[in-house]
Amino acid sequence: MPASAKLLEAGSELPALKKTITQRQIDCYSGVRPQSIHTDVEWAKAKGFPAPLAQALMSTAYVSQMMVAWLGKGFVQGGKISASFIKPVIVGDTLTARAVVKSHEEIGGRPHVTVECWCENQQGVKTLVGSASGFADHLRV
């Protein structure tokens, strides 16, 4: 049994990912333009933020990274993410993406797994909460 298969048990935690977000990464993700809360410092401040915000969608990429590394094809074809962005992420923040197996079942005769996932910043404040799921018949070792 590959090590990743053990993670199917409810309550198991996937390996966490840690990401410190730089302005250059935000620029690459969002595209640089003036009057953007993501890439224009002065505009972000004018909108009331202390610094440019990372686009919320960047955090879904971290969830996707965890799921692809684990489920592989079972996430690429048939995977889902449902996320709520509950706190802004500011340039320089270090996010930790985490996921815990919530349930597993069979769908169409295929093993299927759902995780509860979240991202938290360096202060332990959750910035994203949600769930992700996919088929567990092509686990990557």
Partner: protein, 151 residues
């Protein structure tokens, strides 16, 4: 000719449709995305079980999110929720386009939200690659959002 209006809760209409520009996925797009999210999985950079590389499943999220920019001037907004369903692997060389529809708008605790469903297709085959829906909060006319003060 599109007459761009500044987006607001009052101006958007439930049922109105959106469409992105078409977009050719290039190798440099995948490299840039990999750098942006620090995810250099060999499936995106070297080879995958699909025979050749694929892209990050979430690569095209911004194409969906920015559809409204094709109709409106969007001074700022906050993304509240995102739902993705990944149906088929996305590959470099595909020309893709996203269609969407505003399915709801609502007010909650004095804030305005719009909900858009979307589907991103490979233009050549018509295959749906990704679908889902997202909720965006519209900034108030004052331009400064209450949430900004919480950091």
């Amino acid at each position: 000719m599109i007459e761009f209006k500044t987006i607001s809760y009052e101006v958007v209409t439930v049922g109105e449709e959106f469409m992105s520009d078409d977009f050719l996925i290039k190798p440099e797009d995948v490299e840039t995305f990999a750098f942006a999210v620090d995810d250099h999985d060999p499936w995106y950079c070297e080879d995958s079980p699909y025979g050749g590389t694929i892209t990050h499943p979430v690569l095209l999220g911004n194409q969906a999110l920015f559809m409204r920019h094709s109709k409106y001037i969007v001074p700022a907004g906050l993304h509240a929720k995102m739902q993705y369903e990944f149906l088929q692997p996305i590959r470099v060389g595909m020309r893709v386009r996203t269609h969407g529809k505003l399915i709801d708008k609502y007010e909650k605790r004095g804030r305005h939200y719009m909900v858009t469903e979307f589907a991103t297709r490979d233009e050549e085959s018509g295959t749906v690659l990704v679908r889902g829906q997202f909720t965006q909060m519209l900034f108030p006319k004052s331009g400064v959002h209450e949430d900004a003060r919480k950091r």
